[in-house]
């Protein structure tokens, strides 16, 4: 999978609330399918299906232990998603900093126009 295709897959995987909850759980430490099925009150096959999507998107990796196959989070694609968010935030922050300047000007004008209080 190309890096772009993988990121597209990461976004698609993150669009599902159950998969986001699974990732949030894995952020606190690795877990097996059984561990994950319990709090989500889901069947193991249902959890396995979500895990497959997350694994294909590169968001998690699974251990080799045939019995447990513990899942752990892969921080790299998530960091990339955050990178996008940060860039977008920066652009808006620049706009809003200009707005701060404009508001200061408007406040000064308002002060001048309103008669002084006695």
């Amino acid at each position: 999978m190309s890096p772009t295709a993988r990121l597209d897959a990461a976004f698609a995987a993150l669009a599902d609330p159950t998969r986001r909850a699974i990732l949030a759980r894995l952020a606190t430490g690795q877990a097996s399918v059984t561990d994950l099925a319990k709090p989500f009150s889901m069947s193991q096959p249902a959890v396995s299906k979500h895990l497959k999507v997350l694994e294909r998107a590169g968001l998690i990796s699974r251990g080799r232990d045939a019995q447990r196959r513990p899942c752990r989070i892969n921080p790299k694609p998530l960091a990339q998603v955050n990178g996008w968010l940060e860039k977008y935030r920066e652009i808006w922050e620049e706009n809003f900093q200009r707005l701060d300047g404009l508001l200061e000007e408007m406040k000064a004008v308002q002060k001048k126009q309103s008669p002084a209080k006695h």
């Binding site: 597209d8 698609a12 993150l14 808006w92 922050e93 707005l99 508001l103 406040k107 308002q110």
Partner: protein
Amino acid sequence: MYNTEALKLTLSGDREVVFTRHFDASRQLVWDAMTKPELLKRWLFGPPGWTMEVCEMDLRVGGKYRWVWRGPDGNEMGMGGVHKEVVPPVKIVNTQLFDQDWTGGEAVGTLVLTEQNGKTLLTNTVRYASPEAREAVLKTPMEQGMAMGYDRLEQMLTTSK
């Protein structure tokens, strides 16, 4: 210095982006700056190097708005929509569609201003047509941003001598 005014941006659900930001001004002033074309044109530039060329606002329910920006290389980017709800100086709900429709359908924006002790909290929620649309919006400035980052670095290096 810790900047308490900094913009917070969060992803909500599978297709929303939520902005929150404090402004050190009354709600009425923030409302004016966000709704009067001559004032909007002074700050809403989009990415660095872009300026707002067209700003038409019919601030009534059912009224249309249209914004066009021009980039450093002469490229134009336009968007517009219809005001669905207008409650001065508190709330605007509008539809948002870019001319190139790179967001894959209309988005809905909800702007809410709350005043606390003379300061104003802005909460802007944009709900995109699909999870893919939100992804496209977040990705685009990233791709442009890489090139712009280098431009700015070059500028800094040449002006600092």
